[in-house]
């Protein structure tokens, strides 16, 4: 995968799918570009207007906890975020992100501050913090997930092979 470059937007621990895509906007779930204008609204009401394409969302522990709504990682992707970095992810959010082709990276995000310029090299497993001049390494994805991400998500994978082809 190509290296990704952008600014860091830092959120804390326990960012839930209700922060990302709240239930009061349920009626926008069938209009994802519209819903994406509200991405992460309940964590930072201005995030969608402040961020630029290619930027990173940086979380703490248990990012994406809560509901199974795939709309959450989908609108993060539609908004133009290139990857989410966090110390840990909730299970369903993590799996959904891979399925929709949004890279999710488990790494130590402690030293990353708002507006730091980051460059992420998925193949090498390293986050370069260009502002702080530090490198943070991370473990590669499990093989199954790597394959799904390479195929552009689960839907494309099934479309390509007609079935699971994960071995």
């Amino acid at each position: 995968m190509e290296k990704m470059k952008g600014k860091a937007w830092v959120f804390g621990d326990d960012i839930s799918t209700d922060h990302i895509a709240p239930g009061r906007l349920f009626h926008l779930r069938s209009d994802l570009p519209e819903l994406a204008k509200h991405v992460l609204e309940d964590a930072d009401p201005e995030f969608a207007t402040k961020m630029s394409k290619g930027d990173f969302v940086v979380g703490g522990n248990n990012f994406g906890l809560g509901s199974s709504r795939e709309h959450a990682p989908t609108i993060i992707k539609i908004a133009g975020v290139s990857a989410v970095l966090a110390k840990s992810f909730a299970r369903i959010f993590y799996r959904n992100s891979i399925n929709v082709g949004l890279p999710v990276i488990i790494c130590n995000t402690d030293g990353i501050e708002v507006s730091d310029e980051l460059e992420v090299d998925i193949d090498a497993g390293v986050v370069h913090n260009l502002t702080k001049k530090t490198n943070i390494s991370f473990a590669p994805l499990p093989k199954v997930m790597q394959k799904l991400l390479e195929d552009g998500g689960l839907l494309n994978h099934i479309d390509k092979y007609g079935d699971f082809n994960l071995d």
Binding site: D18, H27, S30, G66, S68, F164
Partner: protein, 420 residues
């Protein structure tokens, strides 16, 4: 080496003996989507021309979150799901039938099934010893169409329960206590497996409450053994033939053992804005009184007949506090009818409660009972995240139906043991 319940069920469904850490392709028995996740699932299948379902009689589309629909966009989503049901033969659960996690265990699940749902509380089915877990729309769409999905076989935490519940303390208090103890990510990617004499004696409604909240500790699934309680429940639901006993092997390997003596527990409340932010009633009593604007009794966690009966026993012959609204949403039409028949509904109405249609009600902030700025709510649901009940400026507390009823009487968070 023996197997945990998760390993057993996933072995049966992948055709080989598997253990924790392995990746498997497993067959799937029962699938659900709901009106918030189903439309995306359907559109994904349409995109790749795969609009079919592998097991039509065991694929259920629920109109429960926006029931009835408060606006045209959601009415259109409902229409999309109705059309998909007609086209594929999948079952449609209409507006007013009830919440997915009530209907699936009572009408569809069998012990040992693999059940996936596009709803995080699909883990409720673990109460029936089904490997039941929540996923996103695309995952469930593919599982519905192919009858298969992939899993990483989870490691298991053994939750060893002992003792008898004291008066006024329920399984909801136990599961809040557990999550407070291990944290909202304390069991991420793991299976929870419940053991002990307390479990043997625990009725199905209590098991459903506990299994429902497995995901609130990050777990993939929360499993109970399939035993006499399971058999009795299935018989009562008219599905006695779905029963088979399943238990873990005595020499199964567990990553961790957590012991809880339930006789030492107190009524427990989760404070805003995370489920693991728990306080016991003794701690609450040391604080300034916490006024509550709205009490909600219902949801897939605690909207069953037994839950409404507990609330009614506390509210009987009394009125709710005049400054505290009391909203009650039975989890299904069947429960509403049973509560009508046995007088529970009358008691609740006499206490000035408002009865909502069966469904998710105010739980996820789609409609009905949204909070005002700065308002507080004590609810029997499973989540209290920022914005959950329709307003990021609301404050949500979680508790048992007994705590909810006691709180409705006094208008402040109240220990049910004071009013029992």
């Amino acid at each position: 080496m023996g197997q945990t319940l998760a390993e057993k069920i996933l072995s049966e469904h992948s055709g080989r003996a598997v253990k924790a850490g392995e990746f498997v392709i497993a067959s799937v028995d029962v699938c659900l989507v709901q009106d918030g996740t189903g439309p995306l699932a359907v559109r994904q299948l349409q995109k790749i021309n795969l609009e079919r379902v592998a097991h039509p009689g065991k694929t259920v589309l629920f109109l429960d979150h926006a029931a009835p629909s408060p606006r045209k966009e959601l009415s259109n989503d409902h229409m999309l799901l109705r059309r998909f049901a007609r086209k594929t033969g999948a079952v449609l659960s209409e507006v007013g039938d009830g919440i997915c996690h009530q209907i699936i265990p009572q009408d569809y699940l069998a012990p040992g099934d693999v059940h996936v749902g596009a709803d995080s509380h699909t883990c409720t089915g673990g109460a029936l010893c089904a490997f039941a877990t929540g996923m996103g729309s695309t995952d469930v769409a593919i599982a519905m169409a192919l009858g298969r999905t992939w899993f990483r076989v989870p490691e298991t935490f053994k939750i060893q329960l002992m003792g008898r519940f004291p008066e006024g303390v329920y399984t909801k208090d136990l599961v809040l206590h557990l999550i407070g103890m291990i944290g909202a990510d304390g069991a991420t990617y793991k299976a929870l497996e419940y053991h002990g004499k307390t479990v043997d004696e625990m009725k199905m409604f209590g098991r459903l409450t506990i299994a429902n909240m497995a995901v609130e500790a990050g777990a993939k699934v929360g499993l109970f053994p399939s035993d006499d309680v399971t058999r009795d429940y299935l018989q009562e639901m008219g599905r006695g033939d779905a029963f088979r006993p399943i238990s873990p092997d005595a020499d199964a390997e567990y990553e961790k053992v957590i012991k809880i003596d339930v006789s030492k527990l107190e009524p427990t409340v989760s404070f805003p804005h995370t489920v693991d932010n728990t306080r016991t009633m003794s701690q609450v009593k040391e604080m300034d009184p916490i006024h509550i604007d709205q009490v909600v009794i219902g949801t897939c966690t605690n909207g069953r007949l037994e839950d409404l009966q507990v609330a009614a026993s506390i509210l009987k012959g009394k009125k709710r506090d005049k400054d505290t609204r009391l909203l009650i949403a039975p989890a299904s039409r069947g429960i509403l009818m049973a509560a009508l028949k046995d007088g529970t509904l009358q008691t609740l109405l006499d206490a000035n409660a408002l009865i909502l249609p069966p469904g998710c009600g105010p739980c996820v902030g789609v409609h009905q009972g949204a909070l005002g700025d700065g308002e507080t709510c004590l609810t029997t649901q499973n989540r209290n995240f920022v914005g959950r009940m329709g307003n990021p400026k609301g404050f949500i507390y979680l508790g048992s139906p007994a705590t909810a009823a006691a709180t409705a009487l006094t208008g402040r968070i109240t220990d049910p043991r004071e009013v029992l």
